[in-house]
Symmetry: C2
């Protein structure tokens, strides 16, 4: 765990300062508008949002409905998570006394197990018994794993009895998915009498990023009207391209045209704001996660001239899902850097129900400002936020730490609202 706070490259921060100032000036409007939105569309149980802070623009690039990384949050703000968990459980199932967390498949990743254990601890402190179940076939007995933190994580095989799942004698009221279902919907979780949250439809076997960003487009538009800003300042442009098969080289012409179209839209925006940077887009699988099937493109012709290795990479997503629909997304530069080596830092914001419970920076020394920071095998150092995202200080400058974190919390909640609308549409 590194410490310190990233430095924001200052050359291009004009419009962002305007945005941050706007958020502060209109805080009462922002918060009451959000409160109204949650009454219309309840927030998901939990989520994490990857943001990119380009100085001139602050936007979400990924919204994870099955967040990991709870171990990276500042322990000083654990009470926030405890209250938020109580609130979230109250909303989902007021009488719940026990929650069962369904883990991801990659349970050999000790950092992931630290996150699971941190999540379990939040529930325990909230007065909700919590245990962790795995869907892995090869685990037939409870598996105790010693963690680097000194804690122990116990993974137990999930069992089903009639319409209920559980672990041995532990019969939960609530089943909490922390597994993104990239491998499909597990039969053992279908048609339970227990409530499953988020619902199975939120998994990557159903969910589409393009749908999320289509919802985000509406949210950003409505929000921007509230505080009178250009929605582009908080939104990455997005386009969906169907029927793309990188292996068979079909659909690439269409993809190339859309990339070209988006690049020129971005250039027009850069011209409008006097930004002297080269536009780029990110092409990624419309379903799936973990940075597989992702590429950065600055020239539309590049997608036509991919070599075999590149095409193979784009064809495989997590758990072997075939990429068919792709999302073309405006690339948002990261101009937050940390340390003497100007390591790139990307904020990740955590929410439970409608509350921001914390965040951290992914600090990565080996990557460029236009690259994805959540790629397979990549290593990042988590830099926990030293302050919460909920104590803005109007007497300070708009880019003072509490105010920057507040801005992150606002934009992350816009992505949360988009996710809420996604879930409501299932």
């Amino acid at each position: 765990m590194v410490s310190g706070v990233p430095h924001l490259t200052t050359a291009l921060k004009g419009p962002l300062l305007t945005l941050e100032q706007h958020l502060l000036d209109n805080q009462a409007k922002v918060e009451s508008w959000l409160r109204e939105q949650w009454l219309i569309t309840p927030a998901p149980f939990y989520a994490s949002v990857d943001l990119r802070n380009a100085g001139f623009k602050l936007a979400p690039v990924d919204t994870n409905l099955f967040p990991a990384g709870f171990n990276n949050l500042n322990k000083a703000f654990l009470p926030l998570s405890v209250h938020a968990a109580q609130d979230a459980v109250e909303r989902a199932c007021p009488t719940a006394k026990r929650v069962l967390i369904i883990a991801e498949q990659h349970t050999r990743n000790l950092f992931y197990l630290e996150s699971l254990e941190a999540l379990r601890d939040i529930f325990e402190k909230s007065g909700i018994e919590a245990r962790i179940a795995t869907l892995r076939d090869d685990i037939e007995q409870p598996l105790e794993v010693e963690l680097p933190s000194g804690k122990t994580c116990v993974l137990s095989p999930l069992t089903r009895d009639g319409d209920r799942v559980g672990i041995d004698e532990f019969s939960p009221c609530l089943v909490l998915l922390n597994n993104d279902l990239s491998a499909g919907r597990p039969a053992i979780l279908e048609n339970l009498e227990q409530q499953v949250i988020p619902p199975l439809e939120a998994g990557w076997s159903t969910r589409k990023k393009s749908e999320h960003f289509s919802q985000y487009h509406s949210v950003a538009k409505e929000f921007s009207e509230q505080i009178d800003i250009d929605p582009w300042l908080v939104e990455p442009l997005s386009l969906q391209c169907g029927e793309v098969n990188f292996k068979e080289r079909t659909g690439l012409e269409c993809l190339s045209k859309n990339v070209e179209s988006m690049l020129s839209t971005i250039q027009a925006k850069y011209d409008q704001y006097g930004i002297d940077k080269e536009p780029f887009v990110v092409v990624k699988a419309d379903s799936g996660t973990y940075g597989m099937g992702i590429m950065t493109v600055k020239n539309a012709d590049d997608v036509l001239t991919l070599n075999r290795k590149q095409r193979n990479k784009m064809s495989s997503a997590k758990e072997g899902m075939l990429v068919e629909n792709v999302l073309i997304q405006e690339g948002v530069y990261t101009f937050e850097t940390w340390g003497d080596d100007d390591a790139v830092a990307e904020p990740v914001i955590y929410m439970m129900d409608r509350f921001v419970i914390g965040g951290f920076y992914r600090v990565h020394t080996g990557r460029g400002v236009d690259e994805n920071l959540n790629a397979p095998g990549m290593h990042f150092e988590p830099l926990q936020f030293a302050q919460s995202c909920v104590t803005p200080d109007k007497t300070d400058t708009p880019d003072a730490e509490p105010n920057r974190f507040y801005a992150y919390g606002v934009i992350a909640r816009l992505a949360l609202l988009a996710a809420a609308r996604e879930l409501a549409a299932f």
Copy 2:
């Protein structure tokens, strides 16, 4: 502001450790029971509860529905207050953008103004514009008061326009009483179209302590059944005595009999638990606050032989209310002490909606373990809780700090529930 953590006199702590262990062991039951209770009876907007920790017993002695002292809470946990305020406002009036705080009359007390300003700051950080109004006749223009903290508190005269109150152009959605209405219900606040919280009925012109402790009696009984303890461990015995007039010396025989009866009930409990202490009761005005009209009694005859000065003191409550009904309450020893001089320390717990947002100890060097610590003119040093009340740690001892604070938070919420039922009955 002093620092450090009070030391609990250890000689008599047996049953309390049992209680704390019980709360930890049954945390899931405790929390889910409380969640169910809040669904039946919504929590008041805010409250503070004075607890007494006798080592063998932990009980509330006073529940304030118009809390002051927000400035004494640990700033590290400000985010908890911010989230709780958002939740409380959402429940009271989801579309609220502005809240108007109605201040107490004693606005010359700078510590009280620090509290008002701390409360206002919580709302501002929650994204709710907040201003402070006074009912004082002698304030006709906004009054700016420089505070010891360096902040400025602005008190504005309250104005009424039709069925709405406000300050100049500031027309609030929500009117938050921070005035206990000892002087009666102000006409300017009657029949407003705006929501007034807590309702005017919660003021001391209507509210009775005996009703609160009668509700608390039911709460303590129900709660104790949940976790299988003797309710006496969390409840001060209470009796109401009507028609007492200290000046005219009427009703004192009846009072004396009731005191005697309660003293022997306490003695029986002390015998049961092997507690070698002298029982005492506290006689106080059934309505009112600020420690006026309060006396400690160890012998029933004492109430018959009061001198003129003592009788005058009991006759006057805040703002000149005449004492007629009195509450006889079991005296609960304070065995928490702080510093080399063994100064008496009394915990005060703060809640917003159903959430515990923090607390502090009143540390007082000049008082005994059986005296009231909230008396007129008394000076205390606030010792803010170093940890939150919501992060119990089952791996630690039951009297470890986070667990002791958790126990305080549980008992305070029982008093909060009693207050909720009081308000629901109006």
